[in-house]
Symmetry: C2
Subunit: 154 residues, 2 copies
């Protein structure tokens, strides 16, 4: 019985690894153990992570420079978003297939919540129509800043 469960789990793991690795390769990145793990750290997180947070969440010790460079190439390959949350450092987040979203950040405690609202297509069309010197929009950033219920109470 335990044998079968173990086997099943191993299978899951193999499949999961395979898809992550495949995903990296199809986007022109080498599937090194470091990048696979970096990818999975981002995958597990519900909110955008800073560089130190990413490094903390990786089991294996990785060099900071390597993380910067890996993220840079993942961003360029369109697998990762770089998010600016008004702190003076970047946060990173996986580009989900169908979960394009934005964020709302508490100015007091820093809490981050995902926001599903986005009429991106509409917005981008309007912007291009109004713009005099731009003809292509590749992406956009939309973040809200406010107070969470907890902080409003206090």
């Amino acid at each position: 019985m335990y044998f079968y469960i173990a086997n099943f789990l191993r299978l899951c793991y193999t499949i999961c690894m395979a898809t992550t690795e495949e995903h990296l390769r199809t986007h022109g990145s080498k599937a090194t153990s470091g990048r696979v793990e970096l990818f999975e750290v981002l995958e597990k997180s519900k909110i955008p992570l800073s560089i130190p947070e990413i490094m903390k969440n990786m089991g294996k010790k990785v060099n900071q420079t390597t993380v910067y460079r890996a993220l840079e190439s993942l961003v360029e390959a369109g697998m990762v978003y770089r998010v600016d949350l008004g702190h003076s450092h970047a946060h990173y987040e996986l580009c989900g297939e169908n979960n394009h979203h934005h964020h709302i950040v508490c100015k007091q405690c820093g809490k981050i919540e995902d926001v599903a609202v986005c009429e991106s297509k509409e917005l981008e069309k309007t912007v291009l129509k109004k713009s005099t010197s731009f003809s292509v929009i590749k992406s956009h950033a939309l973040e809200f800043f406010g107070l969470c219920k907890q902080c409003v109470k206090n």
Copy 2:
């Protein structure tokens, strides 16, 4: 004749200074010569400026720390916006009374254009409705990234 023009210009200058100074004071900031000039540098610029750009545009030499601190208090007082354009440093821009707007940035050449599009009120309402843990929205950031016509050609 020239005398009258000169006088007129002096009057304009005086009025302008007076309003800038008054503006600073009513927002709880002291109207020092440095802050007045910082304010006017931002006022003259059509696009958000970085710290080095601001310092370059100020006639008087000012310390970088002072600029950081002045901007910090102007942002807190709600007179200035801090804008993140995907570079790894902040840009600053005056909050106009009735010209709330956003930006589109060229990924290739860095060109910045203002974008008038914004259904802020609508958006913020929707966001609050959907959010589980937030009840107040103070502000939002919306920037577009793409390619300007010039860069598309090349």
